[in-house]
Structures are given as C-alpha cells and as structure tokens.
Symmetry: C2
Subunit: 193 residues, 2 copies
C-alpha cells in the first residue's frame, strides 16, 4: 500500500522489508511527537536501526516526511470513504468526520505542521493524495447540500482550509484557547442560514 521509493524491482529481502516497516513506525511516532524538528538519528534510534539503514530506505529526510504525509492523507481519505458508506443525516456525517480528523491532528504534531503551513515542498509532493481527499469531501458536501443541511456556498476547499486553520491554532498557547469549542462553532457556522 505504501508508495515504495523503489519501483517495481526485485522484491525486498525479508529483513529489509521488516526494517522498512520499523522505520515507518518509528518515524510516525517521532514526527508525531516532535514535528519536523525530529532528527534522523531519533527516527533511527526509535526504529532500533542505524541511521544508514534509514537512509537506504529514504534518501533524504524530506522523502521520509513526504511518505508520512501521504500516508496521513490516505488515512483521511479512507475515513471519508467510510463516511460516504455510512447512512445518517449527511451534514452530521460530515461534522463527525471533521471532529475525528481534528482529533487525529491534535495527536500528530508532524502532520499538523505541514497543514499549518510549514513545508510547501512536502505539501506539493502529496498533491495527488490531497486531491483524492478533496474529491471525497466534495461528494460528502454534495449529499448534505441536496439534503439542504449545509450552506450552499461551502466547498471542499473551504472545509480543507478550515481544517488547516484549525490545526494551525492547535499549537497556540493563546489565552482562552479551546479548539474543541472553536471547532463546534465552525461546524455550526457551516449550517444553512
């Protein structure tokens, strides 16, 4: 499933396959904790592997980050797909999705930073996955629109921006800060007049 850096060449040796998985797991944890300040050495340590091995699998730090962001978008997309299956009032389905995505973001400083504006490079390299997500969101919005339970002028891009924005505010020690409440407001603002 994971977009492997190497094309469709001879299959990886068993130990290599295992290590790649470990690296990914370690990286997920470390980047989630420290955001992009996370160091390659940390990733290696967490994965129980030498730095060299990390570099064998991902030629640069950025490549590794891109992989993680792609994964994350795919996960969001998968959840959106689930939501489309689910039946229930379409707007509420969308709202729940937003809430659960927000929760996931709150736990992951790495993706949060990307969404929040750091790393344009990374962002662009995950464009395909992002578009997939936008597409799915569009469909969710359409359903709600047909049901008349969402503002007619809200687009998938808007939802995306709201989520970016929300994730940006999550890191802020601003006074009176409570992103749950803010998210509730955002959601309510999306309802039709």
């Amino acid at each position: 499933m994971t977009t492997s850096p190497n094309q469709s060449e001879r299959p990886l040796r068993s130990d290599a396959r295992r290590n790649r998985e470990r690296i990914l797991t370690g990286a997920r944890a470390v980047f989630a904790e420290c955001g992009s300040e996370a160091q390659m050495d940390d990733v290696a340590r967490r994965a129980g592997v030498g730095v060299g091995t990390v570099y064998r699998h991902y030629p640069t730090k950025e490549a590794l980050q891109v992989e993680l962001v792609r994964e994350k978008f795919k996960r969001f997309a998968a959840e959106a797909r689930d939501a489309l299956e689910r039946d229930g009032e379409p707007f509420e389905v969308l709202a729940d999705l937003m809430r659960s995505n927000a929760e996931a973001l709150a736990r992951d400083a790495g993706t949060q930073q990307v969404l929040a504006g750091a790393g344009e490079h990374i962002w662009t390299q995950a464009a395909a996955e992002q578009n997939e997500l936008l597409e799915l969101t569009s469909r969710l919005i359409d359903r709600a629109r047909r049901a008349g339970t969402i503002r007619a002028d809200a687009t998938a891009t808007d939802i995306g921006m709201l989520m970016c924005g929300l994730s940006a505010t999550m890191t802020h020690p601003a006074s009176g800060f409570d992103w749950h409440r803010h998210l509730d407001l955002l959601i309510d603002m999306l309802r039709p007049r």
Copy 2:
C-alpha cells in the same frame, strides 16, 4: 514606541539610534520576504550594517523576531482602535478590519508563520500585545452583538483563530486556492442566522 531592549538607561548615541531604526526596517523587509528562514547576515546586509551591530541591538535572532511580532500586533491593535472610533454598521466595520488585516498578513511571510504555528516561544513573548488586540476585538464584537448583526456565540478568540487559520492557508498551493473568497465566506458565516 518600539519596546526598546535596553531599559531606561542613558539615551542611545545618535548613530546607534539611527542604526537600530535601520535594522528594524531591514528586518521587517527580510522577514516579510523569507519568513523565519531569513538569516541574520541578510538582515545586516539589508540594513547596511555589520552583523555585529545587529547583535549589539538584539542579542539573538529570536529577540529580533519577537520585536517584529510585537510591532505587528501593535499595528493590528492600532487599526482595531481606529475601527472603534469609526462609525458605521459595527459588523461591517469588523469585517473591513478583518479584510485589511488579512491583506497585511498576505504581504508578510514572517508574521504569517508565527500566526500559522511556528515559533511558540515568540508567540508567548508577545502575549501582552496579543491580549491587547483580543480586548479591542471583544469590544468590536460587543457592538455588533448589540446591533444584532453578528452571531451571538462568536468570541474574540474565535476571530483570532479564524485569522490564524486564514494566514495558515495563505501559504498553501492547494488546488482551487483563493483566500479572498474563503475570507468572504468566513465573514458571512459570522453573520447571525
């Protein structure tokens, strides 16, 4: 006006005063262009001054950034104060303020980054200025609330978060991206049902 790093000691020598102003101007420009990647050497060059001089006035890069962010908040606060003087439909006054602040943000990558979640340190050190701004925003909201032209449950913090969010999205090359349109939507969503 600018919070001078040195307390109320003997007044600066004339050349020092001039240079500090130059440094600030150069720094504003460089940070606006490059965000926090801007280098101290660049600031010095832009100001037409040696790096050493920059360091004489601001002991660290962070100190310089904090100064700039403070300044920026103060400017926002000043605009908010102006808005309070102005008469006109209170909600529209607030909306105009948001638009003009957004415009300013779009021109300033440095502040944008801070708002967008980088630099918690910096953020906390500008807490006082930020609170001042929140306070003024509250008053603007109150007026609109009394006029019944804004959602009753929107707070100053929400406006702040929306602006943070907006600034976060500004850097994004997301497809179909247009922050002006998005901002219009945000503003409209703030109107009462």
